[in-house]
Amino acid sequence: MTGLLRPSAVGRSPVRVDGPAKVTGRAPYAYEQPVREPAYVHPVQATIARGRVTAIHTGAALALDGVLTVLTPENAPHLERGIDPELEILQSPDVAFRGQLVGAVVAETPEVARQAAGLVRIEYERAEHDCVFSADRTDLYRPEVVNPSLPTDTSDGDVGTALRDAERTVVATYTTAMTHNNPMEPHTTVAVWDDDGLTLYDSTQGVHAMRESVAPVLGLDPGVVRVVAPYVGGGFGSKGTAHAHLVLAALAAKRTAGRPVKLALTRQQMFSLVGYRTPTVQRVGLGADPDGRLTALSVDVVEQTARIKEFAEQTGVPARKVYAAPNRRTTHRLAALDVPVPSWMRAPGECPGMFGPEVAMDELAQACDIDPVELRIRNEPETDPETGLPFSSRDLVGCLREGADRFGWRRRDPRPRARLEDGWWVGTGVASSTYPVHASPGTTATVRISPDGRYEVLIGAVDIGTGAWTALTQIAADALGVPAEDVHLHIGDTDLPEAPVAGGSSGTTNWGSAIVAAARSFREKYGPDAGPGDEHTASTAENPFAQRYAMRAFGAQFAEVRVHADTGEIRVPRLLGVFAAGRIVNPRTARSQLTGGMTMGLSMALHEESVFDDRFGFVVNHDLAEYHIATCADVRSVEAYWRDEHDPYVNPMGTKGIGEIGIVGTAAAIANAAHHATGARVRDLPMTPDKFCE
């Protein structure tokens, strides 16, 4: 056992520690960090999808009043090569995708910088580009691993024979769209490069992670690079890894020699520079006996990556973990294209990977004439289907049952296209959710008592909206045995003890575990009567149970959908999720995390699609008017509940992570409800009205 923390502050619902500063707008995000007399950077982007810059004319830009410098591949400071091709900007004339950085203007004001960027004239030698994503390409390849370092393919038994022999089968292709994270705060870096080194005020999910990425590319000792991020306006993965603009800001700051520079990407620029979720094609095969017990399960995934840098989304991975079946197969194949670099977007792998299989399960329920909730319960595995390890805790069945009760599932008429109300077809659907427990041993925290007698807790964590400011304060209070009001938390700075990114739903797990470790050893060292000046630092060790148990959160989501009989307009009046995600630290902020994930899942299901023009290699709808994310009017009732789950193996808090599981399964639940409403089986996201009018 990990020595579960006795909850006192944990489990209560204080309002956010950072709340007053955020509602008034006083919380300073990256762009708002106070620096003296900043200059402003505006990027210049490639307008071809592949080729090379043959000439770059900067005369008109440099002639403009207020322009300080124009960075180009010809004059940019040197970067180390061979580390991360996405970050090695302006080092060669080669263009690997449209929108790639090929220059930048630094000027006295943002207006002049932008005007001058438009005056930079570039000549190119075009090469033939290839941006066509298709599962039928003949040059698909098998990546060595999928994100982060998981097996590309898995196989148990003989899926082909089992599918052929199965009495009930579903074999179908499902697709999810290319989507963009689009946090509300555009990616921003304020850089200061002076005699003390390089300081980056950055909108990032991880201060130490950014330093680790950017320092070697800049040829700097990490010790002279400081990254600061006290408040971050969302990220959803796109701020979890370093992107090219971070390096551009550093290069501009090097050129202005001590004068701070501000670089805020425009919303449009974000569509080519800060990652996105690959489109996926999922060929799913399910075989079962007439009672719905799975005999075969296969998921064969095709997705895209950038030719300049590989990212292989682990879309087939959740199918390895959720249901029992003696014959199983998952594969991933990639198309390497002349496109921007894909990356993490909320629940990479799990989010798209629980669409195809969970819609297929609904189709299997229909084929077996079994209730979709019951079908899932029948296929509950006793151990992790992939490894055979026991689960540290698993309550998918509890989530399904409690969700069915709360949602009123029992009253459901199972027949599709059976309920028409005021011109709207009405239906309900269900899907399962799951997300792994990630942990990064070596996360460090410091506990000390300040001269005025308060407990100070220091850790390089980042709150991107998750509630870390508040949850970590609660955890520290319980670990120290003091009221939360006595704890003063410091986060968001590489000057603080080293900590991993806010990603993989692991923030509370990693940061909380380090705080508990530091607090416990602080108490051991100083006892209950510690005084001002006492200080102790500790790191998290490898969890010995990680090799003995499979660790995952689970959930069940229920959706009510209405589809207009004449227009195909689709609405989701109700979403309800029940989750088994270990102990919940702060119910107020946890509920927001879960319902926020479900809302993004609704948005993925109904609205989101980056329309990629492969003739030119860019996203056509590259702004928030045309890339529609769910608005207030799109979202009605969204409810999240959780099981009272005590997992002594995951970490001292008993938490499993809640940042991502909310978006996993939502789109499948909505698609299944849409089928129940209309009888039309939509297997391609997003479910726009045209898909119900065919």
Partner: protein, 177 residues
């Protein structure tokens, strides 16, 4: 081309010289250091930059500063502050309601949401109908559907809409009683 203008921001009169291309949002953020309104899209598509401009909600990224010489601007920082100027604590019922209902996560869209809500409540009280008002001749009753419709110019990627609607509904009901 530059122009001299005066803006009253959260009760304080400020004189400044602006390039005539400078938006009201950039004038506030870059020139005056008033960073309560945020920049999310710069195209009037997300509502993050919303303030009360001469008493009505407006997206400041779509307004040129030079066109608003003499304007009175209230940001979320100044909302409810009264004549005493901007205080350190949240002063408006909407601030407290957003905290209580957790109507935000990352907080970046929040000052814009709150200014938009303040403007919207005044519009509804003045009898302005919306696209979902059943009878435009009647005084609109501010229920959840009305609030969702009227607040849809303010995007929230964290998906805090249920909390936002509950917070605004609570304030609206408080005003009625």
């Amino acid at each position: 081309m530059d122009a001299d203008i005066t803006l009253t921001v959260d009760g304080e009169r400020r004189a400044l010289t602006v390039d005539t291309r400078v938006t009201l949002l950039d004038a506030l953020r870059d020139r005056l250091g008033v960073t309560s309104p945020k920049k999310g899209c710069d195209h009037g598509q997300c509502g993050t930059c919303t303030v009360l401009l001469d008493g009505r909600r407006a997206t400041t990224c779509l307004a040129f500063a030079v066109a608003h010489d003499g304007a009175e601007i209230t940001t979320s920082a100044g909302l409810g502050a009264g004549d005493g100027g901007v205080g350190a604590e949240p002063a408006h019922p909407l601030h407290r309601a957003f905290l209580e209902h957790d109507g935000f996560q990352c907080g970046y869209c929040t000052p814009g949401q709150i200014c938009s809500a303040a403007g919207m409540l005044a519009e509804a009280e003045a009898g302005w109908p919306s696209a979902v008002t059943p009878d435009v001749a009647e005084r609109p009753a501010l229920d959840e559907a009305e609030i969702r419709e009227r607040m849809s110019g303010n995007l929230c990627r964290c998906g805090a809409y249920p909390g936002i609607v509950a917070a605004i509904l609570g304030v609206a009901e408080g005003r009625r009683t």
